[in-house]
Symmetry: C2
Subunit: 198 residues, 2 copies
């Protein structure tokens, strides 16, 4: 016998397909939704569908936006000769939160990962090369400091070098406030290699 | 400047209002939804609204179901003279998974908690008393082993005793497979108090 009625089971099944939501959280969520006022539930459902419908890639930098050109690319005060390359829109938001980066971005939507079948052609790399035909002084590669992120960084740097555009990579090292005792060896070695003179 | 475009921000805001979903998970979820195929997103949204629309209380035991009478109450093979009282439908599912309980249930939809303003009248207690007018032999109180659950259990037992129906409470103690070292003192004392002769 099924534990819950059909509509509840179906909802739990749909929710547990989302990232970071296991079966237990899915059932907690499902019952929360069922107990919510009908108007709020409908608003949530509508918001999900609307976001899916209206959000698209920026024609310039491929971040997710509901405009044809995102607000950053459309901003003439930004330095359009410096492009920071990122894996996704959330990473872009993280840098944007610092409020200190003046350049523009390029979102790859992934990183090279043969393990899960993501190759260079699955990323917005052709689009990046096309942008380099304009007046670009520097490409800062800010993919994650993971195996996939590093592989992608190496690949992009090889791809761009022949064009003569300066390519840089954000620094790896001990995070600010990090306690050496709890930091993995690879990071510690990276921090040592990347040491700067004071 | 806002970090994301309007539709994305709105979606993140809606999602982070759900239980157990913080701002970071909400943004991860939001981008996952935006990257999902449109048909799947629409199906998810529809499932949420449909569950809300079709799921109602069972007229007998007040569990959530999409029938007028839930499958358990409608099952003539179950022992309808024994009622297990639970806080919510998920707890019912937990007992139902054991496959060993033959009686029926009664779902309170909460526990007495003056701290958050939930009193006896907010629970399905009147409905429980009404059921006791039928042929009931035993009421097993299986509210949680929390302060609220215990308070509710005490309250219900006082309420039912005058009717002459037998009232029992599920045992508290060390969970099966539990390592004494990691178990809190209150549980250890409960386990001692509730010891049984071998």
């Amino acid at each position: 016998m099924e534990l819950y009625s059909g509509y509840i089971n179906k909802l739990i099944e749909e929710l547990s397909g989302l990232p970071g939501i296991g079966e237990k959280s899915a059932s907690r969520l499902a019952f929360h939704l069922i107990h919510m006022p009908k108007a709020k539930v409908e608003r949530l459902a509508r918001t999900i569908v609307e976001a899916k419908e209206h959000v698209q890639y920026c024609r310039e930098c491929y971040t997710l936006t509901d405009q044809e050109i995102c607000l950053i690319c459309a901003n003439e005060k930004r330095d359009h000769t410096t492009i920071m390359v990122l894996e996704n829109t959330r990473d872009l938001a993280a840098y944007e939160k610092t409020g200190k980066y003046e350049g523009v971005y390029h979102v790859l939507h992934g990183a090279i990962s043969p393990m899960i079948g993501i190759g260079p052609s699955d990323l917005k790399l052709k689009e990046l090369l096309q942008r380099l035909q304009g007046d670009i002084k520097e490409v800062i590669i800010a993919t994650n400091s993971s195996l996939e992120g590093e592989t992608t960084a190496m690949y992009i740097s090889k791809l761009i070098k022949p064009t003569g555009v300066k390519v840089t990579r954000i620094a790896s090292g001990v995070p600010v406030g990090g306690d050496l005792e709890y930091i993995d060896e690879v990071t510690l070695l990276r921090a040592l290699e990347g040491r700067i003179e004071l």
